[in-house]
Amino acid sequence: MGNSLEISNWSLFFSTGLLLMAIFVDYKQKLGLGNEIFIAGLRAVVQLFVIGYVLSYVFNLDNVLVTFAMVLFIVFNASYNAHKRSEGMPNSLRISLISLGTGTTLTLGLLIATGTIEWVPSQIVPITGMIASNAMVAVGLTYRALNDKFKDQRQQVLEKLSLGANEKQASMTIIRESIKTGMTPSIDSTKTVGLVSLPGMMSGLIFAGIEPTEAIRYQIVVMFMLIGVTSISSVIASFMSYKQFYNDQKQLISR
């Protein structure tokens, strides 16, 4: 294929022109986003350079404990971000850690057990990143759905409680709908994969010179893995969260 896979410093420097284009649009349209675009660009450069060097170091080190620490770091960060989307729901950090942790462990475990990937840092770290970030989005969406639905369907929940339902019985419709909300993006992207976008994993492999017929095999695994992890994480997050909407007198808390 003869792809050149190096970006020179000059190419990198001139790519900031793309950022300048965005800043120009912002200036002309008076969007007031100029600072944010600048900061976002700067952050991306710094964060990626740092992670680039960290990954290089970890891959060369190829140490089980260090790789494991990277996995924990990724899962913790993803959980922390999901927790921030819970709009102040109590115990949401704990719930995020458990739901993302379990989802990631099961999915990663299955991939390793079936020999799809190997326990080498250059495979484990990027795959964990993909799994955890999708789980993070799914759990974040689940939290938002729970918050919205407990607000919108407040009367229905109260009616169910008035009939003598317990918290779970009164919340079941909301729990189901919220799990669906969490899973929808990964199902949708699985349905349209290849038709709308060539996803990152596959694009990356093709870029690196792998035959497309080989690259799609990885992509298939990735899609299934993402459906798996988002379902596990959303289910756990929903079932652990609904009780946070009630007090010990089994009354719906208004928030």
Partner: protein
């Protein structure tokens, strides 16, 4: 003598800044049909919801058959003392989903013949059992919701202006069923209403103005 079925002592409720109810005290005897009246915004609905254990008074106590509410399992209590909304909403897809719910939460077999008897009583054809809920009129929904509350006989029904949005025909159907439960089965009724006929049917009237009880020895 049996303790009153409900006994309120100095019940108050306030949000951050506003006092909604202040020092409400009264007893309710089994089988009574009590109306709570008063201008809108006077806290009547809040009072009914508190009695229905949907939230807890900021101070004061509510007792059921002589036992303090905090000491009773809320689920058992709400099966006995059940709050009913002004515009009841129906859950899920069909009428069946709604009428099966009281059985499901008790882990019991659905008794279709009992359901159909009730449907007839609220003058709905038994074919309504499988009807989608969004095909029902407001009055029909309210009638189904009432059946949902009556399938397992509650001790006390807390009715929050449940006929205010209904036409005369629907109101008539609902009131006759409620009066029957009250007089035949001794179901205690505590209701908020502005309707003259409903007030006239009640055994006692409690008037609440600006969150306080007004003395009304109107008997």
């Amino acid at each position: 003598m049996n303790p009153p079925i409900l006994s309120l002592k100095n019940v108050s409720y306030q949000t951050d800044q506003t006092k909604i109810l202040e020092n409400i005290s009264f007893d309710v005897q089994k089988g009574e049909n009590i109306t709570i009246t008063g201008p809108s915004g006077s806290g009547k609905s809040t009072l009914l919801k508190m009695i229905g254990s949907l939230f807890t008074p900021t101070s004061g106590t509510i007792a059921y058959k002589g036992e303090q509410l905090e000491t009773i399992d809320p689920l058992t209590y709400r099966k006995a003392v059940s709050y009913f909304f002004q515009n009841a909403s129906l859950f899920d897809e069909t009428v069946k989903d709604n009428l099966a719910f009281p059985y499901e939460i008790r882990d019991q077999e659905i008794d279709e013949s009992q359901i159909k008897t009730y449907l007839k009583q609220v003058e709905l054809p038994t074919s309504y059992y499988d009807k989608p809920v969004n095909a029902l009129s407001g009055g029909e929904k309210q009638r189904i919701a009432l059946v949902r509350n009556l399938l397992f006989k509650p001790e006390v029904l807390l009715l929050d202006e449940i006929t205010s949005a209904l036409d005369a025909e629907n109101q008539e159907i609902i009131l006759s069923l409620l009066n029957e439960r009250n007089q035949k089965d001794g179901v205690t009724i505590l209701k908020v209403t502005h309707d003259e006929t409903e007030i006239a049917e009640s055994t006692r009237v409690i008037r609440i103005v600006k969150g306080r009880m007004e003395d009304s020895h109107g008997e």
